[in-house]
């Protein structure tokens, strides 16, 4: 028995030492390889910047190995695409990405591991590799599981304006509102118009698609879809009305302020809150009195929104000070006092 345990401990220790030895070799090699790549990048970067800014007529020479070329260009272009290099010529950047990376990513999508494929998809989108549109779509068709790869592949297709994914956006089950918004964000106006058609032609459209469309357009202040969003404040479903009211706050306008009248006295506190928020967002001084009345609303969120939006008017602070000092209602005094000291603009 003792011998067995001795052998077990010695065996495991030996195996670990072997792994340790391999890891040390691997680490030493990785460090040296990374240093080598960094050195090449450091020497090539200024030359590529000159080329991209038009001060150098031809492309700098890269090492011969295709893999090294891909690693170097990926690192360098990733940096160039970031904000700090905003003045580089995008057309040339895109040409470089197509030339050195498109084939590499095509191969990765076919044969790479899960993590490598996702990384490739991230970069296909970052570098806007239009030549890989069909590859990305075909890859998407093969995906069964709704995981990060599925989501990133859809993002890529949306970025590359792949029309065949529109039915996925509007009909696929299990996509969250937030994710649909991410996809809408990538679509151009023409494809957005097609999404609107699908929504209007389908009364049973999933609510999260409708919510995403309404919210997204408000956040982006998309003028072509303003009237669609505004009409939704009369929808019979409360949640849709709330999304539309919230979206109008983001638009910061209404076509006719009187459409708000009914919301100030709505039996739903959320609608009263949004009425208060819209008053501030659209700067509608005619509803200042209504806001003052909402300061004594039984719901904290309504009082908070009323106080917060009174403050957005030029005389808002003075009004709140008056309320804080003289109002008969303790709720009103409390929230006015709070708003006067706690700054921060419009709350989330």
């Amino acid at each position: 028995m003792l011998e067995l345990f001795i052998w077990l401990v010695v065996g495991l220790l030996g195996a670990q030492l072997l792994i340790l030895f391999c890891l040390i070799l691997w680490k030493a090699r990785t460090i040296s390889h990374e240093n080598n790549i960094d050195e090449i990048i450091n020497s090539l970067k200024p030359q590529f910047i000159d080329y991209l800014e038009g001060r150098r007529p031809s492309e700098p020479n890269l090492p011969k190995s295709k893999n090294t070329q891909a690693v170097i260009m990926e690192k360098m272009l990733d940096e160039f695409y970031s904000d700090s290099y905003g003045n580089l010529e995008e057309r040339k950047l895109n040409q470089l990405a197509e030339k050195y990376l498109a084939a590499h990513y095509r191969k990765t999508l076919k044969r790479g591991t899960w993590a490598e494929r996702i990384n490739a998809l991230y970069f296909i989108e970052d570098f806007y590799l239009v030549s890989l549109r069909e590859d990305a779509y075909q890859h998407f068709l093969k995906l069964k599981k709704q995981d990060e790869e599925f989501r990133q592949c859809l993002r890529v297709c949306a970025s590359l304006q792949e029309e065949r994914i529109l039915p996925v956006i509007t009909e696929k089950e299990g996509l969250s509102t937030g994710f649909i918004k991410e996809l809408l964000f990538r679509l151009n106006e023409s494809l957005m118009g097609k999404i609107l058609e699908k929504i209007e032609n389908n009364n049973d459209i999933a609510e999260n698609v409708l919510f995403a469309f309404i919210t997204f357009n408000g956040e982006q202040k998309n003028e072509p879809f303003f009237s669609f969003v505004e009409n939704k404040i009369f929808d019979e479903r409360k949640e849709v009305r709330l999304k539309a009211l919230n979206s109008l706050c983001n638009y910061g306008k209404v076509s006719n302020p009187s459409i708000l009248d009914a919301f100030f006295t709505s039996s739903y506190w959320e609608e009263r809150m949004y009425a208060a928020k819209l008053t501030g967002a659209c700067s509608l001084p005619q509803y200042k009195q209504a806001l003052l009345e909402l300061l004594s609303d039984p719901v904290w969120w309504v009082r908070f929104a009323a106080a917060e939006n009174i403050k957005t008017f030029p005389d808002g602070e003075a009004l709140l000070r008056q309320v804080a000092l003289w109002d008969e209602d303790a709720y009103s005094r409390d929230i006015a006092k709070h708003m006067l000291t706690r700054k921060g603009g419009i709350g989330a």
């Binding site: 401990v9 495991l12 680490k27």
Partner: protein, 472 residues
């Protein structure tokens, strides 16, 4: 006759301990096997690219970061600074000074130009009285609230009352976050459209690292053996244990040093419990309980990325105090929720997680200390076959040193945060020494902690801060 009986009894106990330790070791290996496919799958994933979208996405939920602080004058400014530089679209920082007797408040007030503000709180939980609140003139999203001392849990509850965003994160005053920590930790919540209700990330030890203005500039090892051993211990706990538990949704601990929670669910379960020293684990158990009771599909997740760096105790006295406190906290939580033990209603939590924490995390120290007595006493007084004593010793080496050295190898295979070849060798060699000194210390303190669990008293603990973050 009686001497024979004693020998048989000790032999029986010895084989029991050997069997127990082999089983516990196998559980670790099993957890490792559960965790490793995911670690392998995600190893090459670009973490930065993965969160790029979130940093600009308007649906990335705003979050309130709560920093409970009791006598944290050495590190609180650096912690706040690191939080101010986080990459996250919308967040507020709320430092809760829980009646510190040192200059915690003064440091924050002077460093960030805090100005008094009027208080109007929604009170979800009763807490110690809040005496003052401040807001920074330099950073509008930074708040400081001062309250009467009530313990860490009470401070966190006060922070939740004051917070205004739908998610909150609790971070210790002696910890700093990596710049993308919040984005990485929120990602499972955003991706699941809120189905994930709480997330925790891997915590690492900052002792030895070069830190400048609240940012880790260079990761390196400390010099003190005690600190190095804690680094190895964290590898073992986070890389082998927690990820395995999280994979099967039975994770019972999100480190008190850093976690993200859905505020409404925490409010629903009553906030942090103030009469325990293990408030972080206790909250997670209660969250699991409420999720299971409601038959909700929500879950608690752990992300494997190292996102939070914390100051580990550097003296024997402070480490001892910390470990006694942890053990007490664990005992109290398991006792409070004892009905969940072996209860099939709570599935994996009741049938695996709870027994694991009871028999492996809580009681292993008792078995090991008993083992020490048997080995030393047995060999010295010859009341046990020396072969059995040696087998027990070898099992201890397997369970202690070899598992920890495996964790070191795993860290190098996955994250290799320590940049030099020398540091892996040092960590590996230290891991091999674990059974011979560090584990003995830990076990003795943990047994003490178990005894102390009977004397209930809610305290912060008196960890002596060297202030590894204050060397700005």
């Amino acid at each position: 006759m009686s001497s024979n009986f004693l020998t048989v009894l000790i032999e029986f106990i010895s084989w029991g301990i050997i069997f127990y330790m082999i089983s516990a070791g196998l559980i670790y290996v099993m957890l490792f096997l559960v965790a490793s496919p995911r670690i392998k799958k995600e190893k090459k994933l670009s973490r930065h690219e993965q969160i790029e979208e979130l940093s600009i996405n308007k649906d990335t939920y705003p979050i309130s970061i709560l920093v409970p602080a009791y006598n944290e004058e050495a590190g609180v400014v650096s912690t706040v600074r690191s939080l101010l530089s986080l990459n996250y679209p919308q967040y507020e920082i709320i430092v809760v000074n829980d009646g510190s007797t040192d200059r915690t408040s003064e440091k924050v007030i002077s460093q960030f130009q805090m100005e008094p503000i009027e208080l109007a709180l929604r009170t979800y939980f009763k807490t110690g009285e809040i005496t003052r609140a401040y807001r920074s003139a330099l950073h509008p999203e930074l708040f400081l609230i001062e309250k009467v001392n009530g313990g860490k849990a009470d401070a966190l509850n006060a922070g939740i009352n004051f917070s205004r965003y739908p998610y909150f994160s609790a971070i210790d005053g002696d910890s700093i976050l990596e710049q993308d920590a919040l984005l990485k930790t929120m990602k499972p919540i955003v991706d699941s459209a809120g189905r994930v209700t709480a997330t925790g990330g891997t915590v690492r030890i900052a002792n030895g690292c070069k830190i400048n203005k609240g940012v880790i500039e260079r990761v390196s090892l400390p010099h003190k053996p005690l600190e190095i051993m804690q680094i190895i211990e964290y590898f073992r706990a986070f890389l082998i244990g927690r990820l395995g538990f999280s994979r099967i949704n039975i994770l019972l601990i999100i480190s008190g040093a850093f976690g993200v929670f859905e505020k409404s669910r925490v409010i629903k379960v009553g906030g942090y419990k103030t009469d325990t020293v293990g408030e972080d684990m206790e909250l997670i158990v209660r969250l699991h309980r409420s999720i299971k009771d409601e038959k909700s599909k929500q879950r608690i997740e752990y992300i494997q990325d190292p996102v939070c760096w914390t100051e580990a105790p550097s003296t024997v006295a402070s480490l001892r105090a910390q470990r006694i406190r942890w053990q007490r906290g664990l005992a109290e939580t398991l006792w409070t929720h004892r009905k969940m033990l072996f209860n099939p209603k709570y599935r994996g939590i009741g049938l695996f997680s709870f027994p694991y924490y009871l028999f492996v995390e809580l009681l292993s120290a008792v078995f090991e200390v008993l083992g020490y007595f048997i080995i030393i006493g047995g060999l010295a007084f010859s009341f046990i076959d020396p072969d059995i004593a040696l087998v027990m010793f070898l099992v201890m080496v397997l369970y202690g040193s070899l598992l920890s050295s495996l964790a070191v190898l795993l860290e190098e295979w996955t994250y290799h945060k320590y940049p030099t070849v020398g540091s892996i060798v040092v960590l590996y060699l230290y891991a091999l020494t674990e059974t011979f000194w560090y584990r003995i210390l830990m076990n003795v303190w943990r047994v003490k902690g178990l005894f102390y669990a009977f004397k209930k008293k809610s305290v912060w603990g008196n960890m002596e801060r060297k202030g590894v973050f204050s060397e700005d």
